[in-house]
Symmetry: C2
Subunit: 196 residues, 2 copies
């Protein structure tokens, strides 16, 4: 088995995996802003054009590197349809359905745990929030979308920790309908209510 | 330097530290319920009566082992004075004052990080919540105090992560008065509002 030139490998199934592994290391060590497609390509010993070919933009590379078990934009997208006055109900329902799914939960827990590790703060604040969470606020036409979606994230993250990571009762076994009735008013106020 | 009997040491400054270290290991490995004063004493090679002498109950041993930089019962106690209709405002104010204090924040972050490590879930759900958080709900005379204080914890934990661990803007540098106006209504509803 030969390779055309050492350090500049052609595309192939494990080249893609190597690029993703290099991207994950770089995002974790240097954060989202500190990562460049060029540096990831060098680290994976491939041409930058190959990284662009596989993943397109740095945003798309980041989302692929996170290995989310669902595309959050597909889950969050339908929320935008329907009246904004009840978006929180739809959001909590969709959120709980995805997290309660035993096929998805282990991978989601891994993502949360890695966001809480040292270096994970930048992946969260420079990557996940601006690329995934805040565009939903913009699409919903909220005033101050960044501000409001950050408040939403502060309640959702606490709920994830209590229900799925720390598994505290009664939250851990609360039926979805009760969760919706409990948390939708909070989140609706963060998204569309009066705030300081 | 001699010791009266190997494995049964008398009290002294580093005996106390040894007991605390043994307690921390046991709480982390076996959880709050799985830890006994007898087993901690054996692990530290002291008589159980000495552990009782130093710390009193298992609850008190747990609180000492957590090494909190402030006694949360002293911080939370004054909240009980004053009208329950505005307790959330007083709570968010007191909470932010303690967490924003640069002399206290590093030790508080250590406690939060250790609660999120494997095994930390039991310290949180069997120790911190029932021993520190839920008694406040009882003292406030809330109906369903455990349930309501768990909801409070789900918002407070998310706020801690966003503001102090992940340091996400605009939460990280939001002035206390704005935090109070933003979060007190949520927490007031969790404590005294209508819930499913």
């Amino acid at each position: 088995m030969t390779r055309p030139s050492p350090g500049r490998r052609p595309g192939g199934p494990d080249t893609r995996a190597d690029v993703l592994a290099a991207a994950r290391r770089s995002f974790a060590e240097k954060g989202f802003r500190g990562t460049t497609i060029r540096a990831v390509a060098a680290e994976a010993s491939v041409d930058p054009s190959l990284v662009h070919h596989y993943f397109g933009t740095k945003d798309a590379l980041f989302l692929a590197a996170m290995e989310l078990p669902v595309d959050p934009r597909e889950v969050l997208g339908p929320l935008i349809d329907g009246p904004v006055e009840t978006v929180a109900e739809r959001f909590v329902g969709a959120f709980v359905a995805v997290w309660d799914d035993p096929a998805l939960q282990p991978a989601l827990l891994t993502v949360v745990r890695s966001a809480l590790e040292p270096g994970g703060d930048r992946l969260f604040s420079e990557g996940f929030l601006p690329l995934i969470v805040q565009p939903v606020g913009v699409a919903l036409g909220l005033d101050r979308p960044e501000y409001r979606m950050t408040l939403l994230a502060s309640q959702v993250l606490g709920l994830i920790l209590m229900r799925y990571v720390l598994r505290v009762e009664p939250l851990a076994s609360m039926p979805p309908a009760v969760l919706i009735a409990t948390y939708a008013p909070t989140i609706q106020r963060y998204l569309t209510g009066e705030l300081p």
